[in-house]
């Protein structure tokens, strides 16, 4: 009985999630329409038709060599993303509890964020050569600050009265951290993770292109050398699809699972 209701609750939420995909699809259709209009105005050479690009992208997917390139890029960006997530969350939570650390970190963050990722790529290339490490470390540097700030913010703006409540019922520091504070910090962390993931893919491709380290970036560099616009667009489409798959297959579902209660607060019209 209880299991049944829990299952139907979950199924309902899954359906909601899928249903909300229609809105995304509609937005994509709009984009495709604008793209098609551009194609008809400027011709095949400048902007190939969206369908032709999709065709080219599918062609790439069918080719095992290209699929390997895509997987290589995905693996690199996910490695960097995972490293940035762990580093950002650990450092951010610490800074959230220690205002002194936060005060030290703020100006440092301004400096780190002020350096364009492309400059980090040049530096890491010289440090690590044209390897996967270059890509991962660049992502680590570019994406950690976002996660860090979100985690620190989450802890610093937590509801302290909830902590007092837990303490009044005998919870000590570890319990309060695990059951009360972490849960509140998760709220700003997830949007930051989605952002960091996007940064991961972008930086990975950029680094690959510049460092000629293979992957999608390498393929894009080749397409540019050959002035092959359809090929370049197809790669762009593929990498965007990969990003969407990871974000909506992993990050967003985890977030909506944690933020279930927020849906309960929304008026009906906003839910659908």
């Amino acid at each position: 009985m209880k299991l049944g209701s829990a299952l139907s609750d979950r199924a309902g939420r899954l359906l909601d999630f899928v249903w909300s995909g229609w809105a995304g699809l509609a937005a994509l259709a709009l984009l495709a329409a604008a793209w098609q209009a551009g194609h008809e105005a400027w011709g095949d050479f400048i902007l190939p038709a969206p369908l032709a690009t999709l065709d080219a992208a599918l062609g790439l997917l069918a080719d095992p060599g290209s699929l390997d390139l895509l997987l290589l890029t995905a693996e690199r960006s996910l490695t960097g993303f995972a490293m940035a997530t762990v580093a950002g969350i650990v450092l951010g939570l610490t800074a959230g509890y220690a205002p002194a650390v936060m005060r030290l970190a703020r100006p440092l963050l301004t400096v780190v964020l002020g350096v364009p990722p492309i400059a980090w790529i040049v530096l890491t290339m010289m440090w690590f050569g044209t390897t996967s490490t270059t890509v991962a470390v660049t992502i680590l540097i570019a994406a950690t600050p976002m996660v860090f700030v979100a985690a620190a913010e989450g802890i610093a703006t937590r509801d302290r009265e909830l902590g007092q409540m837990a303490e009044a019922f005998g919870y000590r520091l570890p319990g309060r951290f695990l059951f009360v504070d972490l849960r509140q910090a998760a709220r700003p962390i997830f949007p930051a993770l989605a952002l960091a993931l996007g940064t991961g893919f972008k930086v990975a491709i950029m680094a690959e292109m510049l460092a000629n380290a293979g992957g999608v970036g390498g393929a894009l560099a080749r397409a540019r050398a050959l002035l092959d616009v359809p090929q370049a667009l197809a790669w762009v489409v593929l990498s965007v699809i990969a990003l969407i798959v990871v974000e909506y297959g992993l990050v967003r579902p985890m977030e909506s699972e944690l933020e279930r209660w927020r849906r309960a607060a929304q008026p009906w019209g906003v839910k659908r």
Binding site: E161, L162, F169, V180, R183, W261, A264, A265
Partner: protein, 249 residues
């Protein structure tokens, strides 16, 4: 042996003394109401007694095994359902997982919560229901000492009365001792065995009045008459409706 003993408690925020030389005792199974004007340091004192704030001076004797607390705000975790909120202290209290559902249901019945409401999130509950969830959360651990910090101030008169009756009944049933902060003298008379009045500037307990009979034995007319008598004839209660006496010092 007293359930709670406060000796020479003193506290200061940023060098400014808030409490000084407070002595207070709460016996086993006794409900003591602490009244005092706003800003006199009542919340500070109960937080010290409950172990949430470390006192600058003095000694606290706690002679109970399980404490619970009900705050002015419900302080529910917004991400957890009413049921999960009520069950939150049970993990820490060491109640085995398989027994928790029964304990939650038991506490929910005491706080007059319906089965339907237990699956809802705090945002879906009314203000009074949220406070009842907070009460159920405190009762679920089967405490032998409960700290109340003006728990019903935000509720309307009718609901307040129901909640007071609930506390009286629960205190009898579960036989817990309690320190109950309020600035409503009627409320204090209704639910307590003894009333302690905090000095307007937090300098000691200004005085204590024991009430005849147990909580719940007094009828409305008696309570009202007693309140009038306290306010009109007893100098101890002269200042309890003053607001922030500190500022006028």
């Amino acid at each position: 042996m007293n359930a709670l003993t406060l000796e020479r408690i003193g506290h200061a925020y940023f060098g400014q003394s808030v409490l000084d030389d407070i002595h207070l005792e709460v016996g086993q199974g006794e409900v003591v109401a602490l009244v005092g004007p706003s800003g006199s340091g009542k919340s500070t004192l109960i937080q010290i007694a409950a172990g949430l704030v470390d006192a600058r001076e003095g000694r606290i004797g706690r002679n109970f095994s399980r404490q619970a607390m009900i705050f002015q705000q419900p302080n529910l975790m917004p991400w957890a359902t009413a049921r999960e909120n009520i069950g939150f202290p049970l993990r820490r209290a060491g109640v085995p997982r398989r027994d928790r559902a029964a304990r939650i249901d038991e506490a929910a019945v005491l706080a007059e919560l319906e089965e339907d409401d237990l699956g809802k999130y705090p945002v879906e509950l009314s203000g009074g229901m949220r406070q009842r969830v907070a009460i159920a959360r405190a009762l679920a651990v089967r405490p032998d000492f409960v700290f109340f910090d003006e728990p019903f101030t935000a509720l309307d008169v009718a609901l307040k009365r129901r909640m007071q009756n609930l506390v009286i009944a629960a205190a009898r049933e579960a036989h817990f001792a309690a320190l109950f902060i309020t600035h409503d003298l009627m409320e204090a008379i209704r639910i307590a065995h003894r009333i302690a009045v905090l000095d307007v500037r937090g300098r000691g307990i200004a005085g204590l009045r024991a009430l005849d009979g147990g909580p719940g034995d007094r009828d409305e007319a008696e309570i009202f008459a007693l309140r009038q008598r306290f306010l009109e004839c007893d100098p101890l209660f002269r200042h309890i409706h003053d607001v922030d006496e500190r500022k006028r010092r």
